[in-house]
Amino acid sequence: MAAELGEDVPGLIGLLLLLGVVGMALLAPWIAPHDPAAQSVLARLAPPAWLARGDPAHLLGTDALGRDVLSRIIWGARATLLVGVAVVLLSGSFGVLVGLVAGYAGGRTDAVLMRLVDIQVSFPGVLLILLIVSVVGPSLLTIVVVLAITNWMIYARLVRGTVLSLRSAPYVEAAEIVGCGPVRILWRHILPNLVSPLLTVAILEFTNVVLAEAAISFLGLGVQPPATSWGLDVASGRDYVFVAWWLVTFPGLAIAVTVLGVNLFAGWLRVTTDPREREKRFGWSRAARALAGRAQ
């Protein structure tokens, strides 16, 4: 598998980007040049170092309070990645579970579960978030839970629809005749065939979650200063778009690069989890290696 990743250049780039972002988040205390919360009125709104008036001490410039943009990006990776990944995993698992049960059980169970999804979808998410956060109080855990509560429905709908069509597939019938129980059918026969669409949706949702976290933080109910996140920086830099473009550009780029990395890596993952696609893409080089090995 490692050798195949080496041949899949986009996949490899994706993995390197992801490793870079995760490494940045983990090593933040050692690699950040400044304290991300340290303010300096004298150095406020300094442009990136390579521009005229740029300050070499602040590579990517400073914000309206004189805080170093680069340091904030490095520290902000922590909250952004944590919230993004945790929410996608949490809402994804719950949504997939609901979808599997609804699609496979059918009948009344399906109707009840899907009406729950409808109710939740029709309810404005931001309102729910504001309500819960103002009662419970803002914290990283609250954001994760609240975002998971408002984002699981898409998985449930997607999975239910696919399960409905897969459960009449001949190989599912064959498994039932063999005597497999429902859990085994869902886990071994249906879920693996859901990987591709789920990966696609999860990646799209990751971006959504990062932006939703930004929106909540912007309203003062998400990540609390002095802590920071990319979304919060983009949101608060918005007011200065015309005087200090670097405030939104660099955190925005960080989000874009992360999503790109996830996307490229997921492309490789999707191919690798599908035996047919995998052989199409890598079969030639594998056969070539086997031949070379035999020749020696």
Binding site: Y171, I177, V178, G181, P275, R276
Partner: protein, 325 residues
Amino acid sequence: MTPTLAVEDLSVDYTVTDRGGLWPRRRQVPALRRIGFEIEPGETLGLVGESGSGKTTAGRAILRRVETSGGRILFRGTDITHASGPALRRLRAEMQLILQDPFTSLNPRMRIADIVGEPLLVHRRAASRAEMRDRVAALLEKVGLPADSGARFPHAFSGGQLQRVGIARALALRPGLVVADEPVSALDVSVRAQVVNLMQDIQRQEGLSYLFIAHDLAVVRHISHRVAILYGGCMMEIAGRDAIYDNPRHPYTEALLSAVPVPDPPAQRLRRRSAPPAAAPDMAQPNAGCVYAARCPRATGHCRAEAPPLAEIAPGHRVACWHPL
């Protein structure tokens, strides 16, 4: 000797929901009407009929995949018509299915060894991994697949090979009865014979019974000991293979046989078609008489008024017709 399978007066109705009006309206459409047959140990019964005749429904009902609305199904003398729960699970080990399309009946994301070993796993028939591996290897060998096929995925195989995998899976639990639902109609003509011969070899070795569902009369003649003809959910005729093919007594059976082309153009041109080609019967319309009356050249008022019973006209030869040939 108790037959492996006995089916008595089996009826199946499908519920159809009309959504045209304000409220959905449900009605019952009969798919099978009081059919009955027996399969002895080591015997193959061919079940023949055109599309919509109910032959697949019959197979599914016997495997307890669709609910019956009347009659009894006995497996080795035990009534299984309403089996459920653990009893049904045990039954699954005794009755297996070979599906029509080998390309869609194997999970594309599972290795061949996992597909064939799955029955052993879910019924806890293998004590260890090593035993499981050995038994899967033995099964693959038995169906004539190369020894290294276990590690590969279904997409690496041809249709004939995949159908062998399907047969190996069906045999894994050493069932007493295998329902083969059109097992060769999705295959190339050149590999049909191989798969059919494989099924016959296995039957001789294991002494199992087949319910062989097909519309290909030549294949059915080759593999079956006895043949049952189904039309419109009703049993038309059942008899030994040679009696059906050489001496059909039901007009529908004769029509079916006459529709098989002869590989000799002048002879083919001279043959008469004994049945007007017509659409399959509309099962939703209640019909008091014989289901075949609308297409039958011999039909009389009696046929349209009253359905003929399945009567024995020669030893082991039963026909549902008022005017048998």
